[in-house]
């Protein structure tokens, strides 16, 4: 589904991703961990097509297409979704209107007609329940005045509405209380099928108790320096990153 090959990217002349490789197949969940500033959000942004980042090397194949050739909205249309680490506020635009616009734009990209209001409302109700998002939040302006946890939950709600092929979650677990964490994780698990995939960026092993990953990667200094199974996350929790960094430095 997603094949990243030697990806290099910089921002303001500073190289952040330094030759990153990653392959994600349908039905898989990948966790990406790594110290602050190692490039996790950068990877997510580059995949989503943020213009500030300049790709200086490598290629990315998404479902047989050259992902880097597509605009951000085309990538969304192709089924890529990014749950932002810091969701953005849009004053005056109701959450419902926003997601309705998004759903219909993505449908248009795929050559489908707009959803009838009735169908849309049905979908809305269903997905709202999935992440236990209150009706009040649905009617408020996008993320405006939402608590940190509410914003994250709203991201998962939007993801559920758009039902992407590839969902990238950038630290969706940070700032969530225990209940919210469980709700968000349940949401992801409900959405999971054998045809879609998730890349979950996290600092905490705790989330991975709920969303069980097939692979755990450690991102350090713009590269994936270690890949393992879910046990790796436990090991990291216990020992930190130093041993991996040392291991990596020896091999370079």
């Amino acid at each position: 589904m997603l094949k990243i090959n030697g990806l290099k990217a910089e921002i303001n002349g500073k190289e952040i991703l330094k030759g990153l490789n990653l392959e994600v197949k349908p039905g898989e969940v990948h966790a990406i961990m790594g110290p602050n500033g190692s490039g996790k959000s950068t990877l997510a942004s580059v995949l989503a097509g943020r213009e500030e980042y300049e790709v200086t090397g490598g290629d990315v194949d998404f479902e047989g297409e050259d992902l880097l050739d597509l605009s951000p909205e085309q990538r969304a249309g192709e089924g890529l979704f990014l749950a932002f680490q810091y969701p953005v506020e849009i004053p005056g635009v109701s959450n419902i209107n926003f997601i309705k616009t998004a759903v219909n734009e993505v449908r248009e990209y795929r050559g489908l007609p707009n959803l009838e209001t009735k169908e849309f409302m049905k979908l809305l109700k269903e997905k709202q329940q999935l992440v236990e998002l209150s009706g009040k939040l649905a009617n408020r302006s996008v993320n405006e005045g939402f608590s940190g946890g509410e914003k994250k939950r709203n991201e998962i709600f939007q993801m559920a509405m758009l039902n992407p092929k590839l969902g990238i979650l950038d630290e969706t677990d940070s700032g969530l209380d225990i209940d919210a964490l469980r709700i968000v994780a349940n949401g992801v698990n409900e959405l999971k099928t054998k045809d879609n995939a998730f890349v979950v960026v996290t600092h905490y092993q705790r989330l991975l108790d709920y969303i069980v990953p097939d692979f755990v990667h450690v991102l350090y200094d713009g590269r994936i320096v270690k890949t393992g199974t879910k046990e790796l996350a436990l090991e990291l929790e216990e020992k930190g990153y130093d041993w991996i960094i040392d291991e990596f430095k020896e091999t370079v």
Binding site: A48, G49, R50, E51, E52, S71, P72, E73, R75, A76, G77, F81, L82, F84, P87, V88, I90, P91, G92, V93, N97, F98, I99, T101, A102, E105, V106, Y109, N114, S141, Q158, L162
Partner: protein
């Protein structure tokens, strides 16, 4: 409107050029180029006007000759040559119209292209439409229904013929002939417009709606509107306009007067979309409008809501004179400027009566190399005990080459008054656009969403069906402003 129609409009809109730029071919009655006393007499004669109105016009003309064009507004443009303008043009009246079927099909086609459903649908949705095509009303519907309630809704000329006593009493009573350069000009040469009278205690059961349209090349457009709400009456009045594409600048100097008596309420909503000129600023309408209402009686209310997206240069300050005690004035405005457009718009709230209240909400959106200014005056007179004003002026910038300016003036002569002013300036952020893009929303659409969100508390004041058009208009007028 069916789905496919809507799609078509969106598609047309996305081609970027001003989509309402087409010209209707109708034979016209034209005045000679230029403005002299004879021009004024010609217009008055053309319209078969009574002596008193001709005198009234001539008085305005003589004063206008001595006046200078104002230049205090934050706009710059080549001054129009007033001797180069044709001051009167009217579609040739073939016969009296009893129904829309009799109206020139060219005119109806024009409205179809505009997506204005001037037909049975509109009738069913309860809107009476008085179309002003160039300067003469060519169709009026719903007269009967309104007539039964004693409501008069007709063209200004008809009102002069059929209700001279009302016109004579009120015309110029809110905006005197010599109020300013453009009102004087309008008073001298106004061609037609709308007249509306709501009798005592009557609530007008439908929105009254007028579509204006400039249609003759090189023709000045001088509309005159007079709305009178008698004691305890209520009316919601809609004015919307679009204009065909032109190379030369066209001058538009309208006057709107509103009188609200004791316990009366008038809600006046405008969507203004005159041709703004091309990307380089060529062509486009000069829009110098004087709009003013007087809350003459106690507990009366006048509310202005405007969405301004068009014109090359806009100069417009819908105002309220709050004379009656406890009277209320409101001004809700969205002004969008793109490319080379310039807008200097705002309001005046003149508090004379006790416990008068005014609210001003102004949302300015600037894109391209445009300049957008808010200019507002809140004046509290000595006797206006307990007067209150709240003003909120927000500016939104798209790109780095445009300008937003705020000129709030406050004159307060009464210590018990309370005047509050808030102002903000913000930019559409890359973050917001990327967030929308990531959700599959194209940049133009995203700007439309963000801008409509920014204007929400103004748009919420528009009547429902108007709001839908206005929202679309905001999107269209900002197309291509990023990237």
């Amino acid at each position: 409107m069916s789905m496919s129609d809507e799609d078509k409009i969106i598609e047309e809109a996305t081609t970027g050029d001003y989509k309402y730029g087409f010209v209707t071919d109708i034979e016209s009655d034209l005045a000679k180029v230029g403005l002299t006393e004879d021009t004024v007499r010609f217009i008055s004669a053309k319209k078969d006007e009574p002596e008193w109105l001709l005198d009234w016009r001539l008085k305005a003309f003589r004063m206008w000759e001595k006046m200078e064009e104002p230049d205090w507004a934050h706009v710059s443009y080549p001054k129009p040559n007033f001797q180069d303008i044709i001051y009167y043009a009217a579609p040739k009246p073939k016969k009296e119209y009893e129904s829309l079927d009799q109206v020139d099909p060219e005119i109806l086609k024009t409205f179809e292209k505009l997506g204005v459903p001037i037909n049975e649908q509109k009738a069913l949705s309860g809107v009476a439409v008085d179309i002003v095509m160039d300067s003469v009303s060519v169709a009026t519907t719903f007269k009967d229904k309104l007539g039964k309630l004693g409501i008069i809704f007709c063209s200004f000329s008809e009102a002069v013929k059929n209700h001279p006593e009302l016109v004579r009493e009120y015309v110029g009573s809110v905006v005197p002939q010599t109020d300013n350069f453009y009102s004087a000009l309008n008073s001298a040469v106004f061609s037609d417009g709308s007249f509306c009278y709501i009798p005592k205690g009557v609530r007008c059961p439908m929105e009254l709606s007028t579509y204006f349209r400039i249609n003759e090349a090189n023709t000045g457009q001088f509309e005159r509107t007079l709305i009178i709400a008698d004691e305890g009456a209520y009316v919601s009045y809609l004015e919307g306009c679009t204009a065909p594409q032109r190379d030369e600048n066209q001058l538009h100097a309208a006057v709107v007067e509103i009188v609200a008596k004791k316990d009366a309420e008038v809600k006046y909503s405008t969507v203004q979309n005159w041709y703004p000129g091309d990307k380089k600023g060529r062509g486009g309408i000069f829009n110098f409008v004087t709009k003013r209402g007087i809350c003459a009686g106690d507990n009366s209310k006048i509310s202005w809501t405007q969405v301004e997206t068009g014109s090359a240069v806009t100069w417009k300050y819908p105002s309220c004179i709050l004379k009656g005690d406890n009277s209320v004035g409101e001004f809700f405005s969205v002004a969008v400027t793109n490319n080379m457009q310039q807008a200097d718009t705002g309001t005046k709230m003149i508090h004379l009566g006790k416990n008068t209240k005014s609210t001003i909400v102004s949302k300015g959106i600037s894109a391209g190399k445009s300049q957008n200014s808010y200019r507002g005056l809140v004046k509290i007179a000595k006797g206006a005990d307990g007067a209150r004003n709240f003003s909120q002026c927000d500016s939104l910038l798209i790109g780095a080459k445009c300008g937003a300016h705020t000129f709030p003036y406050i004159e307060c002569q009464n210590k018990s008054a309370k005047v509050e002013h808030e102002a903000t300036t913000s930019k559409i952020g890359e973050d917001q656009l990327f967030y929308c893009n990531q959700r599959g929303i194209k940049t133009d659409k995203a700007i439309g969403l963000i801008v409509n969100g920014f204007c929400k508390n103004v748009m919420d004041n528009l009547p429902m069906e108007f709001a839908i058009e206005a929202k679309k208009l905001l999107e269209i007028s900002l197309e291509g402003s990023v990237g």
